[in-house]
C-alpha cells in the first residue's frame, strides 16, 4: 500500500511538473523529457523474472526471515504443513513450483509469502487454528500472493527495480546481488501490499481451499478469531499494520462469497489438524 501510494505521489508530481512545462512552453526538449519520465521503466513490466530467478529471490527472503525466526523444531509439524500446503498449491495455476511451507517459532500472529513459493505461518497463528480447513485457508491466502507475484511487484516497483533486472539478468545465484535487490534482511515481508492485493489473496484463498476439498470458511473463521479480541495485543501489531483489518476483509469476503459456496460440502478435518506439542 505504501509503495503504491508513493508511486501515485510520483505520478502526481510528474503530472504537476508536466503541466507547467507545456503551459510555459520551455521548449520541446523539456516536453520530451517529461514524456520520457512518464513512461514506465521497462523493467517494471511484470513477468520479467524467470521462475528460477523468482525462486532465488524467494529463497533469499525466506532465509533471511528464518534468520529472524527459525522453524519450530518439530519435523512432523513441518512435514504436515508441507503436505497440506502442497495439496492446496496443486489446485493453483502454478502446481509445479517447488512449494515450501513451514511454521516459524514466534508468538506473533502472522503468515508470510516470498516469491517462488516460500510460505511461513507463525506458531502464534498456528495455535489459533481450529482444523485443517483453517490451515488450508491461511496457506491458500499466501499461495494467492505467490501466484499473483504481489511481492515481486513490490520489488519491481521499488527503487531497487532497475538494479534488479540488471543484476538478476545474468548473475543469478549470487546472494549478494539478490540481497541488493530485496533490501535489508526480511524487511520486504513487513511491507504492506496494496489493500486490493490482500482482498484478492483472500478471494483466491477461499477458492483454492475449496478446490482442495476443504470447507471454504476456514480462512474467514481465522479472520473472525483474529479480529474479535486482539485490539490490544502486540502479537497482531505487525499483521494489523500491514493488512486491512479483519473486519474489512470479512466484509469484502462476504460480498465476494455471497451464497456461492452453499452447495459445496468441504471437509474441516478437525481431528487431523496436527497439534503442536
Amino acid at each position: 500500500m505504501k509503495v503504491l501510494h508513493l508511486i501515485s505521489c510520483a505520478t502526481l508530481t510528474l503530472c504537476a511538473y508536466a503541466a507547467p512545462v507545456s503551459a510555459f512552453d520551455f521548449g520541446q526538449e523539456l516536453r520530451n523529457a517529461a514524456r520520457e519520465l512518464k513512461k514506465p521503466a521497462p523493467s517494471s513490466s511484470l513477468g520479467g523474472y524467470s521462475e528460477q530467478e523468482e525462486v532465488a529471490i524467494g529463497r533469499q527472503i525466506a532465509g533471511n526471515l528464518l534468520g529472524a525466526a527459525p522453524l519450530v523444531q518439530d519435523k512432523k509439524l513441518q512435514k504436515y504443513v508441507n503436505n497440506i500446503g502442497r495439496w492446496v498449491a496443486s489446485q493453483s495455476e502454478r502446481p509445479d513450483l517447488p512449494w515450501h511451507f513451514g511454521v516459524i517459532d514466534t508468538s506473533d500472529i502472522n503468515a508470510f509469502a516470498a516469491p517462488g513459493g516460500y510460505i511461513f505461518v507463525t506458531r502464534g497463528l498456528y495455535l489459533l487454528l481450529e482444523d485443517e480447513a483453517a490451515l488450508a485457508g491461511v496457506l491458500a491466502h499466501e499461495i494467492g500472493h505467490v501466484i499473483k507475484k504481489h511481492h515481486l511487484k513490490i520489488l519491481q516497483q521499488s527503487k531497487m527495480l532497475d538494479m534488479g533486472s540488471k543484476f538478476l539478468g545474468k548473475q543469478i545465484g549470487g546472494n549478494d546481488n539478490i540481497e541488493k535487490l530485496i533490501g535489508s534482511g526480511a524487511e520486504i515481508v513487513s511491507r504492506s501490499l496494496d489493500k486490493n492485493a490482500e482482498f484478492e489473496a483472500d478471494r483466491m484463498g477461499v477458492v483454492l481451499a475449496a478446490r482442495a476439498g476443504y470447507d471454504a470458511y476456514g480462512l474467514p473463521g481465522v479472520l473472525q478469531q483474529i479480529g474479535h479480541a486482539s485490539a490490544n495485543d502486540s502479537s497482531v501489531a505487525l499483521l494489523f499494520k500491514t493488512h486491512p483489518l479483519p473486519d474489512e476483509r470479512l466484509s469484502k469476503l462476504d460480498e465476494a462469497m455471497d451464497s456461492r459456496f452453499d452447495n459445496l460440502n468441504g471437509l474441516n478435518l478437525g481431528k487431523r489438524l496436527y497439534r503442536i506439542k
Partner: protein
C-alpha cells in the same frame, strides 16, 4: 475442547478461542435471516436486524448457531463479528467491537499481554540469512504426489471452482 487448548490460551490470552465457546458474544453486522439449520434453504425463523448483540453457541462451516433476543437459530458467519466482552476485559462487548470497526484496533494502544515479543519490523530488517534453516525448510518439501496421497487419506477430493470476481465498488448487498 481440549485441555491443551486452555494451556495455550494462557500464552496468547485473548486469541485462543479455538472453538466458539458457549456464551461467546458477538454482534450482527447486517440484517440477516435466522434459520433452523445451517443451510441456505433451511426454514427461516425470523430476521435479525443489524447491530444486534448475540451469543454464539456453535460453528458449522460458514454458519454460527446463535441466540438472539428473538430466539435461537443459525446465521451466516459473515453476517456476524465475534467479540467477547469477558475475554477482552472491557466489561462491555460493544466497546470492544466499536474500537475494532472504527479502525483503531492494533494501531493505538499496543500493550503486550503476553510478555513475549514477536517479530517486529526492526528484527525483520536486521535478520541475517540462515543457510542451515532454509536448507532444513527445503528438506521438508512434499512432492505433488506425496501431497495428493496425504489428501486422499483425509478423503479430500479436488473440485473445479472458478476464482471469485472482485465485487463491484460499493456493491454491498
Amino acid at each position: 475442547m481440549k485441555r491443551k487448548y486452555y494451556c495455550l490460551s494462557l500464552l496468547t490470552l485473548l486469541l485462543t478461542a479455538s472453538l466458539v465457546h458457549a456464551g461467546e458474544t458477538g454482534t450482527t453486522v447486517k440484517a440477516d435471516s435466522l434459520r433452523d439449520a445451517p443451510f441456505s434453504d433451511a426454514k427461516v425463523i425470523t430476521t435479525v436486524s443489524a447491530s444486534t448483540p448475540i451469543e454464539i453457541l456453535k460453528k458449522n462451516k460458514g454458519w454460527y448457531q446463535i441466540t438472539t433476543p428473538q430466539g435461537k437459530g443459525w446465521m451466516r458467519m459473515l453476517s456476524i463479528r465475534r467479540g467477547d466482552a469477558k475475554q477482552s476485559g472491557k466489561g462491555n462487548q460493544l466497546t470492544g467491537l466499536a474500537s475494532l470497526t472504527s479502525g483503531r484496533a492494533g494501531t493505538g494502544k499496543v500493550v503486550s499481554t503476553t510478555g513475549v515479543r514477536g517479530l517486529n519490523e526492526e528484527e525483520l530488517k536486521a535478520a541475517k540469512f540462515d543457510e542451515k534453516q532454509i536448507a532444513l525448510a527445503e528438506s521438508y518439501l512434499s512432492s505433488r504426489d506425496e501431497a495428493q496421497k496425504y489428501a486422499a487419506r483425509g478423503k479430500l477430493k479436488s473440485q473445479q471452482i472458478n476464482y471469485l470476481p472482485e465485487p463491484a465498488q460499493g456493491g454491498a448487498k
